[in-house]
């Protein structure tokens, strides 16, 4: 359950600034590393700024969600949610300059299928990359497998992710059973679903417990339909005993809604500009990423021959 999960203990942060701070630190670390490496032609302006990283991050997140939605067989929502969460957590502590998003995004999706017990074979998984030839798909698969262990390590081996979809179902059941004032809770379902899908793209998963996100979704959908559910909160959830808790709850909900409103997809020109920058960085300072890829080699007792040569990464290869 969430209350004693690793998610609750280690991956829920106090506020948006906390999260931003972590990302900033990761970015700084990567920049310093590249600057200190002393390669010719290094200059501050060539490295990615924080907001540029953000642009790319959101872009690739969207691409991952599109990939998962186009997946055959149909991927359950929880698998997509888990994959997005892994992506977010990974780039909380690492910078985009060190690890290229396209492969990480596929690794996240692959890992999430395994963890959530959505059984697809690896060939089936890369078979969904429609732009690639079978040989190309093989190569992608090898790269996914190379990054997988590193990904798990950066997630601190906390692989179970609690998504808000089941809590939403539970709340609907509870509404139907204990709150007859609301006539047709099913009508709230669609809007709540949309809310949850949007919330998954924001940082809400890193800031609030999934049950709170689900509750916000339902309340939001109810208010859109013009229904008031305050009595539900007070009676059934017994929040009236603790006045403080009720106000805090409203506060969280407001913050969540702000997050959703703030979210917007990056513009195409921005994306292209940032991508170019990233590619240039990667090409010039690629030796760094070569070493970091094989995470398990850092132990020193596993020596692996480089199986693949570094390829020029362009996005169009994949999707």
């Amino acid at each position: 359950m969430f209350h004693n999960s690793s998610q609750g203990k280690y991956w829920i942060f106090l506020n948006e600034d906390d999260v931003e701070q972590k990302r900033y630190k990761a970015n700084q670390k990567s920049r310093n590393k590249i600057l200190e490496s002393g390669k010719p032609g290094v200059s501050e302006s060539k490295l990615l700024e924080r907001h540029e990283e953000d642009v790319l991050f959101r872009h690739y997140e969207k691409r991952m969600v599109d990939y998962c939605n186009a997946f055959k067989p149909a991927m359950p929502k929880s698998v997509v949610g888990t994959a997005i969460m892994y992506f977010k957590r990974f780039y909380l502590n690492n910078s985009i300059m060190d690890f290229l998003p396209p492969i990480i995004m596929l690794s996240c999706a692959y890992l999430s299928c395994k963890v959530d017990e959505f059984n697809v074979s690896s060939t089936q998984f890369v078979g969904n990359l429609l732009q690639e030839t079978p040989a190309g798909q093989e190569r992608v698969l090898e790269q996914i497998l190379e990054y997988e262990l590193l990904l798990i390590q950066q997630l601190k081996f906390h692989l179970v992710v609690h998504n808000p979809y089941r809590p939403m179902e539970g709340l609907l059941i509870d509404l139907k059973t204990r709150y007859p004032t609301l006539e047709n809770p099913e009508s709230l379902r669609k809007n709540a679903d949309d809310f949850l899908t949007q919330a998954a793209m924001t940082d809400a998963g890193l800031l609030f417990p999934p049950s709170q996100i689900a509750l916000t979704a339902i309340l939001n959908s109810a208010s859109r339909a013009g229904l008031s559910m305050e009595s539900y909160l007070i009676e059934c959830l017994r929040l009236k005993e603790d006045k403080d808790a009720l106000s805090k709850m409203y506060d969280s909900m407001r913050r969540m809604k702000t997050l959703l409103k703030k979210y917007e997809l990056p513009k195409a020109e921005e994306v292209i500009a940032c991508k170019k920058k990233l590619e240039r960085i990667h090409a010039e300072f690629s030796s760094l990423s070569n070493k970091r890829k094989r995470g398990y080699e850092e132990d020193g007792h596993v020596a692996k021959e480089p199986r693949l040569t570094e390829e020029e990464w362009t996005d169009e290869d994949l999707l």
């Binding site: 809590p167 059973t177 417990p209 049950s211 059934c236």
Partner: protein, 311 residues
């Protein structure tokens, strides 16, 4: 067992595996026959080392290596003199030192190192601690007696059991024989057809079997407690020390869910939750699934973490 031959007659050991080897104080072995022959006058010299020996000092060899036997003998003699116990010493360290001293003496005597000095040491110790030795001897004998009592009792118990078993078997055999004889007699004399007689015989045989079984299980009024002590025996054993332990107190598990309380699994149906969950199909219930399980899980997830965390 016959890796050693008698050093004198050599062949006899292999030919006669029941022949015993005897060891003396010098550590060399001789088979029984050779002992008889050589020490017919009571004393003589050892065949291998020429030390003067007496016939009475020969003991049956218990260990494969005669030097071990020699050491065992020496140790027994030393321990008769050095018979202090662990509670005679004020600290563990001193007890260990004493033991080490003992081992040195035994080692010296066994390997013929410094025999003179060691013997002098022993005599000196004996003179100094005469009373202590005497006291300890008495204590030791008492313990020996207790042990021997126990052994005796055990042996007696075993013997009794064996005898009873034999008697039971005898009785059974007799009963069976009588039964067979009775059948033959009846077949001879009675007027009834053979099949009926056979049937009667079978019934009787079955009854006999059950009787015997019952007899075996009959509880005899015993004269023994379950621990093996006779009912009228005065107990000379020490009671084992009683260890007082703190009793275990059960405390129910407390889990903080940061949310409203979740109804119990069994209550869900009564409270009406199950009406809003997809009912379980026969295929599902076959595996043990019930809709209450899914419902409970969903409600738990919905309520867990709902209240703001107290940081």
């Amino acid at each position: 067992m016959d890796d050693q031959g008698c050093p004198r007659c050599k062949t006899t050991k292999y030919r006669n595996p029941s022949l015993k080897l005897m060891v003396n104080v010098c550590g060399h072995t001789l088979c029984e026959n050779c002992v008889e022959m050589l020490f017919v006058r009571g004393s003589g010299n050892c065949v291998q080392c020429d030390t003067p020996l007496r016939k009475s000092n020969f003991r049956v060899q218990l260990f494969e290596d005669p030097t071990v036997d020699k050491e065992v003998e020496i140790r027994k003699k030393v321990l008769k003199i050095y018979n202090k116990r662990d509670f005679d010493f004020p600290s563990l360290r001193e007890y260990n030192d004493y033991l080490e001293l003992l081992e040195e003496i035994v080692y010296n005597l066994t390997n013929n190192i410094d025999v003179e000095n060691t013997k002098l040491q022993m005599e000196q110790y004996q003179r100094e601690n005469r009373d202590l030795i005497q006291k300890n001897k008495v204590k030791l004998t008492r313990e020996q007696e207790e042990l021997e009592e126990l052994l005796l009792l055990e042996q007696q118990g075993n013997e009794q059991r064996r005898l009873e078993l034999l008697q039971d078997e005898q009785r059974q055999l007799q009963a069976k024989r009588k039964n067979k004889q009775a059948l033959l007699d009846e077949l001879e004399q009675s007027q009834l057809p053979a099949t009926i007689l056979l049937a009667q015989h079978k019934v009787r045989a079955a009854k006999l079997e059950t009787q015997i079984e019952q007899q075996k299980q009959a509880v005899k009024p015993t004269s023994l407690f379950s621990t093996g002590i006779n009912m009228r025996q005065t107990v000379t054993l020490q009671l084992p020390p009683k260890i007082e332990e703190v009793l275990f107190q059960y405390k129910a598990l407390q889990v903080e869910t940061y949310g409203p309380p979740v109804p119990e699994l069994e209550q869900l149906g009564r409270l009406g939750y199950l009406n809003h969950v997809r009912a379980a199909m026969p295929q599902d219930t076959a595996g043990g699934y019930s809709s209450a399980l899914a419902c409970h899980r969903a409600i738990q997830d919905a309520f867990s973490g709902l209240f703001p965390l107290k940081r």
